[in-house]
């Protein structure tokens, strides 16, 4: 292709016989650190988009157009529980939805602060990299699936398989969570102020689940751990920042972690896992 010079791929000399310590980016190449289409926005520059009568694709394009014009605060009116709204936003942004989202809402985002004045359907904020999402109502199943970073907050209840396969970040649930919460989670933290249904933390590799109420039952590989002072303070702060009215004090929360180390999962063993394994 014209105009492109051949570069050495980051994977070319990767050592496959163990955990790679390879740096994936050339520090001197600035373009590697910004996404294509990333724009400087002004949070005081506001606009609103009406979702009535337009498709998710058109809405997402309108959001991108507004970002490119420097708008930093965007209000979406009448989202009407449509699917796939607000996906793939890789920018700093204040995004407010004046209503409920359908399935796959705000998936694959990196950076924005999102407030949803309604409910979200299945697979909200899937694969989110960073940013903050606040859902005022309930959430469907697979909430924060494969989450990699950022804060994901729901003030009501969340459905089954919350935080399935998550690899980082924090999920905070003001109410109860469904079955298989934290299923196969690999990193990150889940905080549930209420109760959790059956098979919590089934097949979890790593990460921590904090529960204010009671888990109905624990899945395979999930065991109870001991809270330390640092974690209690962290929990207090997180719940307070999320403006959640939690009836259970942070010190009364229970902590659950992975009870088994999987073969060659990681060279770095977290301190809490060591404690469990003795």
């Amino acid at each position: 292709m014209a105009g492109l010079t051949k570069k050495t791929s980051a994977f070319d000399d990767e050592n496959l016989s163990g955990r790679s310590q390879k740096l994936f980016f050339e520090v001197t190449e600035e373009e590697n650190f910004t996404y294509y289409g990333n724009h400087e926005v002004d949070f005081n520059k506001r606009t609103s988009i009406d979702c009535e009568g337009i498709t998710a694709h058109e809405l997402n394009q309108k959001i991108r157009d507004s970002i490119s014009k420097g708008y930093g605060s965007i209000v979406i009116k009448n989202p009407g529980a449509k699917h796939s709204l607000g996906v793939g936003i890789l920018n700093k942004l204040n995004l407010i939805f004046e209503g409920s989202l359908g399935y796959f809402g705000i998936g694959c985002i990196d950076g924005p602060t999102v407030r949803i004045n309604g409910r979200v359907g299945w697979s909200c904020a899937e694969n989110m990299m960073s940013g903050k999402v606040v859902v005022e109502n309930n959430a469907g199943s697979c909430f924060g699936a494969a989450l990699r970073g950022g804060d994901l907050i729901v003030k009501g209840d969340a459905g089954a398989r919350t935080g399935i396969d998550m690899k980082g970040g924090t999920i905070l649930i003001g109410g109860n969570a469904g079955a298989y919460t934290g299923f196969m989670m690999q990193r990150g933290r889940i905080i549930v102020c209420g109760n959790v249904n059956a098979n919590m933390g089934d097949s979890m590799y790593d990460g921590i689940i904090f529960v204010g109420g009671e888990p109905h039952s624990l899945g395979t590989d999930c065991v109870q751990g001991e809270m330390n002072e640092h974690e209690i303070r962290w929990l207090e702060q997180k719940i307070k920042n999320a403006e959640i009215d939690c009836k259970v004090p942070a010190s009364k929360f229970k902590k659950y972690v992975a009870g088994r180390m999987l073969w060659n999962y990681d060279n770095l063993e977290p301190a809490e896992k060591k404690g469990i394994l003795g």
Binding site: K82, G102, N138, S141, A179, A198
Partner: protein, 314 residues
């Protein structure tokens, strides 16, 4: 992936045909192959409503050959004769297609099993529903196509359930389309989203007990299962609770009777369901967009959890 929906208006008769059409059109993307409605009008004091078909819809791209119209007329005549022989008096009849018919008739007793079995001895005849209030309509195409074909936009009633089907387990034809009537129980219908993995085992057991299966669709077993439980005197809600353990697989289904609407979700919570409850009306569907087609304003909805069973009264 199929789409299911149900709506129940408490102590009120409304245009439930249009409500169901709007909801099902909203989840058309979940299943484009066929659409089915089971709707409940004001129960008839004397007499029954019978919906049946005598052939398949030979639409384009479907593996069904069109049959001679004379053959269909002959089958209808045979059914008329059988009904007459059994003492059923047809008071009104109509048809929207050459293969599907609606009869109103009176009969000597409330036990319609014998009559239903006799009607189904006619080649390719299948009863879609019999009941005092239930009318079950299913055909190929989306909700609007089927709704307009059968004139459902003016159907007044209290509640209804519906289904948009994506054929995964059996053919694209009317007999594999939902809803299923719980043969031979009056006014019981079921729609299902999911896959049942112990279908053949359960089917053999129920067939040995004398139940008939018209299709190879796994969802049909839910209707037969519920009918079997109710025949044993078990209440609908309890039968649904039992089904969570006895039916294996991933499923969410909606079942309706002459004055009730119920939903059940499996232990894995693998199939979606969104519920909106208010003082006057309860609506449930696979996706909130379906409910929002009849309630455009912001509403508070929730997902039922795993192994949850709910029943609402009309």
């Amino acid at each position: 992936m199929c789409g299911i929906a149900g709506v129940i208006n408490k102590k009120k008769t409304v245009n439930v045909g249009e409500q169901m059409r709007l909801m099902l059109q909203g989840i058309k993307h979940r299943g484009p192959d066929s659409t089915g409605y089971a709707m409940y009008g004001k129960p008839k004091k004397d007499g029954f409503i019978l919906r049946f078909k005598v052939s398949e819809n030979a639409a384009e791209k479907v593996n069904v050959k069109p049959e001679d119209p004379e053959l269909l007329k002959d089958r209808k005549k045979q059914i008329d004769t059988i009904m007459k022989q059994h003492g059923a008096k047809i008071t009104k009849q109509s048809s929207s297609t050459p293969y599907a018919f609606r009869y109103e008739f009176t009969y000597k007793s409330d036990n319609l099993e014998e009559l239903a079995k006799a009607i189904e001895t006619v080649e390719k005849a299948e009863i879609l529903s019999i009941g005092k209030g239930l009318e079950l309509i299913k055909d190929l195409g989306d909700a609007t196509t089927v709704g307009e074909q059968y004139g459902l936009n003016k159907f007044m009633g209290t509640h209804g359930i519906g289904h948009t089907r994506m054929a995964t387990e059996s053919d694209v034809d009317i007999k594999s389309a939902h809803p299923y009537w719980a043969f031979p129980y009056q006014d019981v219908a079921v729609v299902h989203n999911g896959q049942l993995t112990n279908y053949w085992g359960n089917r053999r057991v129920l067939e040995r007990s004398g139940y008939r299966f018209n299709s190879n669709c796994d969802s049909e077993i839910i209707a037969v299962y519920i009918a079997d439980k109710m025949a044993k005197g078990i209440k609908l809600e309890q039968a649904m609770h039992d089904s969570l353990d006895e039916l294996d697989g991933v499923f969410t289904y909606i079942v309706s009777t002459k004055d009730q609407l119920g939903m059940a979700k499996d232990h894995m919570a693998a199939k979606p369901m969104v519920i909106y409850e208010s003082k006057d009306v309860v609506a449930c569907a696979s996706e909130e967009v379906a409910i929002r087609n009849i309630f455009p304003h912001e509403i508070k909805t929730y997902d039922p959890y795993e192994a949850e069973v709910k029943v609402w009264q009309a």
